[in-house]
Symmetry: C2
Subunit: 360 residues, 2 copies
Amino acid sequence: MTKRVFNFFAGPATLPLPVLEKAKEEFLDFANMGMSVLEISHRSEQWDKVMAEAGSLLRELMKIPSDYKIIWLGGGASTQFLMVPVNLQVPGKPLEYVSTGGWAEKAIKEAGLYGEVDIIASSKDENHSYIPKDVAFSEKAAYGHITSNNTLYGTEWHTWPEVPSDVPLVCDMSSDLMAREINVKDFGVIYAGAQKNLGPAGVTLTIVREDLLSRVPEKTPTMLKWKTHAKDSMYNTPPVFPIYISKLSLEYLKEIGGVKEIEGRNRRKAKILYDVIDNSDGFYKGHARADSRSLMNVTFTMATPELEDKCVAGATPLDLIGLKGHRSVGGMRASIYNAMPIEGVQKLAEYLTEFKENNQ
Amino acid sequence: MTKRVFNFFAGPATLPLPVLEKAKEEFLDFANMGMSVLEISHRSEQWDKVMAEAGSLLRELMKIPSDYKIIWLGGGASTQFLMVPVNLQVPGKPLEYVSTGGWAEKAIKEAGLYGEVDIIASSKDENHSYIPKDVAFSEKAAYGHITSNNTLYGTEWHTWPEVPSDVPLVCDMSSDLMAREINVKDFGVIYAGAQKNLGPAGVTLTIVREDLLSRVPEKTPTMLKWKTHAKDSMYNTPPVFPIYISKLSLEYLKEIGGVKEIEGRNRRKAKILYDVIDNSDGFYKGHARADSRSLMNVTFTMATPELEDKCVAGATPLDLIGLKGHRSVGGMRASIYNAMPIEGVQKLAEYLTEFKENNQ
């Protein structure tokens, strides 16, 4: 049997094993075409079918209303950081952002090239350990931008900020897309790099309310306009394989019960780890405030860096991989996206409990 | 045994079977990590190794001098169409282009957003059936841009145009990268979508002479600056799987003898098909002028569209797939990139010879 570890990397991240097995099975001969999915023309009917199915699965699972378009692109969320202001700026109106971490900061930096940026709230004062409260975007904003989950710090928005009805809320959901039920209608634009909760690296999803497609100035590079891609994401050759794997992941998510079911599992998984932290008498210190905790990335530190290194090193022989925290927080980080099985979380919790007993 | 056809699609296109087999073999467990290459962190040492090997293989195979940087990005050559003027424009200097087909026209359109474009030569007058002769870029140009091979029309530059020594020549080599030996020093920038001659869709290669990285205005979006990516293409998460498959393809190319060897094979393959056309007494009419013929895409028409449809349809049961010509030329197109085995070309030649005998 193939060796398989529990992969707690923050992204690219673990994928459901049945998805990988299916992809492997049909790797050399896709849809009885006598070629790999890597080799098929993106103008073939077989590829059209993959794209159509990926779109309709996503629409069904996320309950995306019909007036929202689904766009699959290369370039990562980092490219969306600039495409958001390119497509949504309005001369004279401020671009309003909330800074909840390093990725939000990167989005803010790009926006600054296109208009006056107003950071209406920030958690920088406490190393982004919380989500600001009572955030309200203003009437005058071209749009409001948030980052729903902050992988580096392990924080997540639990209720959305207030937004005037004609101001679109834009959300970078790279790290918690489909981790929990949301109402797409609360947003004007949702975007997400696939490599955490949807599929592999190499494709980025953007969901845009149709009326927002026409804001973009005519003299904008073709590839940077959402409306170029809104029809079918086939203006140019799409990232075929990453989309194909994302489609298989969506099929799998539907099969196991959809977003509601996975949200329940995610809440159970997160609780197991936060309970270990909360019951450790301070041996493990959660970085995120309890009211801002992420379902996806559990971040915590210990008394000394030496102890943290020992804890990470001791996990490796148990096949618990990718637990070293990001340098912005230090300590440890367990990324427990949709595809992380509860068994992995349980095994990690047992290890952490035992490690505490042996090292306190 | 898995079914395998001869895939003449123009791109995404056929890949070497040993590459696919190797990828399948290690699909669930990469480098003994207990996870798929789709799941590994792009910050892991195993991934660093893939990136480093891909770069050094490319450098070795193309003899890329040390003062050129190698960049792997998502977004396709269509994104490079805008990144070229973004990175190389010089206020007041014209952006000089040669129009040899639909892709060149798209590059020209994007450049028009950034400066005065001068189309110094064009083959549009004869439906891009030839490469213009005696092309010379001017001293005053910010850069000169050509498209080395034109997939839609089946034409290819056989000698490079004249360029003043301080004007960088920029070349879209998407469809003939590494099909033949070139001198990288003849170019300031080479770029290529991977999905024809290098790997699968989803990654684009850009090779830039180092001194050209600093031309870009400071206030340019981070993702659109080549210099953001020049160090290691790891500013953000790279398209992991497409790069990995490209690396395997480069390994394979090295193993079979490198660019010189594949150029010989490509010349033999192309000759087989052009001989069929030339010896058909006009039954098959090559679209490209003999002096402009492509090694990669052999385009030809017949007396009537009905005959062409019949010829394409008759090829399918023989596992000769993807032969319908692009609508801009009509007729048939056989794309015979590096990974197309000579057996496929021979089989197609036999079929065409027989088809002619039965239908003239």
